[in-house]
């Protein structure tokens, strides 16, 4: 069985995985970080989005073994010193969620979007930037508002 070592949320971790172990399984089942969700399991819905070496990817379609040596950030790695990340705070403030299942992926994607496109985001850029994230509750209106406001505070 392949052994993988990676940095997750700044902490060095190591584990034995099977070839078929997905990154999301390693994160949830081996590390117990259950903030990253599995929604569709077919790389469409984006509930499983994490950052690998600074880029947002779908962890349900990424093999854990392929991330050997990588730096991974999950939703648990955003808050610092007991204080929510500005994007998390903005989702709370603007009610950018209802059931909350898609929220970790939405927030990880939004943070990635700000990194790529900057803090001033128009609605069109946000909606295109969230094409890989599906929400079945909100109708997206408040998510877009939350991302716009959160971006400015980042």
């Amino acid at each position: 069985m392949p052994t993988v070592s990676m940095t997750v949320n700044g902490k060095a971790v190591k584990g034995e995985v099977e070839g078929r172990t997905l990154l999301v399984e390693f994160i949830r089942e081996h590390l117990g970080l259950t903030g990253t969700h599995v929604g569709c399991d077919t790389s469409q819905c984006g509930a499983c989005v994490v950052h690998v070496d600074g880029k947002a990817v779908k962890s349900c379609s990424t093999l854990a073994a392929a991330c050997d040596g990588a730096a991974v950030t999950t939703i648990e790695g955003l808050a610092k010193d007991g204080k929510l990340h500005p994007m998390q705070e903005s989702f709370r403030e603007h009610h950018g969620l209802q059931c909350g299942f898609c929220t970790p992926g939405m927030i990880m994607s939004a943070v990635d979007l700000v990194k790529r496109e900057g803090k001033k985001l128009d609605e069109d850029t946000i909606r295109h930037g969230l094409e890989g994230n599906i929400c079945r509750c909100t109708g997206y209106q408040n998510i877009v508002k939350a991302v716009q406001a959160g971006a400015e505070k980042m």
Binding site: P2, E18, G19, R20, L22, D41, T42, S43, Q44, G46, V49, K55, A56, V57, K58, S61, T62, L63, A65, A66, D68, S109, D112, L113, R116, G129, E131, G132, N133
Partner: protein
């Protein structure tokens, strides 16, 4: 998903050796087609040979052509200043594949090796007259795409780079399926340095193909008006729950016009 032996070689020659040794091996690029396919049990390889360890990503822009290493992600192609300047249509196409997360993982080599009938890159390769470089040879795009998920590649052959001649103008437009974001129909139009036009269509048929009647018309005048009077025939085009062959035939004309309007 069935288990498999995982390999991550750092040299092309080692990857080929591993493939030759494997009972039923598969190369893995970005994995966003192969991994879901394996989850569904539609592919059950004994060995996965992950090509990400080859670290062959990057773009070289020359005077006459752009060479993109096979492991370059769609996001990297879309953001590359050299590609954006030399072949803006190609950069725009890469920036419209799937969604941002898919573009961070998916590679040009993986897309071309898979040759999904609704993928975007095959249209650009065929229209621009690209050359696919492998570990063994160079294959012109006109001989590379051989049908539904089929290519001229041998089982153990690996794409190393893709070379695109720089055209005078080119552009791409697609009508994406709103759920999968794959092209229902995508059309890439090219005007080369001598004024000759090439038009390639993806998503509409069992594989990417050239639209000869449009090429003749656009070689005379590279404008949407030149397409007036060309009615694309639905025969041989895909019919499914998303759209009939007649609907796709109509979309080819519409996307060709949009591609011309976007051409730079």
């Amino acid at each position: 998903m069935e288990n498999f032996n995982y390999h991550r070689p750092s040299k092309v020659a080692d990857a080929v050796k591993l493939m030759k040794k494997a009972k039923d091996g598969k190369y893995l690029a970005g994995g966003h087609t192969l991994v879901p396919t394996m989850k569904q049990g539609l592919a059950t390889p004994t060995d996965i040979i992950d090509l990400s360890g080859l670290k062959n990503a990057g773009v070289k822009v020359g005077a006459k052509s752009v060479v993109i290493q096979a492991g370059t992600t769609h996001a990297a192609v879309a953001a590359d200043k050299g590609v954006r300047k030399a072949i803006p249509g190609l950069a725009a196409l890469a920036g419209g594949i799937g969604d941002p997360h898919v573009r961070h993982k998916g590679t040009i080599g993986g897309s071309l090796a898979n040759n999904d009938p609704a993928a975007d890159y095959p249209a650009a390769c065929l229209a621009l007259g690209a050359t696919i470089h492998t570990n063994a040879r160079k294959i012109p795009a006109d001989k590379y795409f051989t049908g539904l998920f089929s290519t001229a590649l041998k089982d153990d052959e690996i794409i190393t780079a893709v070379e695109f001649p720089i055209p005078k103008k080119s552009g791409y437009a697609k009508f994406p399926n709103p759920a999968s974001l794959y092209a229902m129909v995508g059309v890439y139009v090219v005007q080369d340095g001598k004024g000759a036009a090439r038009v390639a269509v993806t998503g509409a048929g069992p594989g990417v193909f050239r639209q000869a009647d449009m090429e003749v018309a656009l070689s005379k005048s590279f404008k949407a008006d030149a397409l007036a009077g060309i009615a694309v025939k639905p025969r041989g085009l895909n019919s499914d729950i998303h759209g009939s062959a007649a609907y796709r035939a109509h979309l080819i004309s519409v996307m060709a016009r949009r591609a011309l309007a976007a051409a730079k």
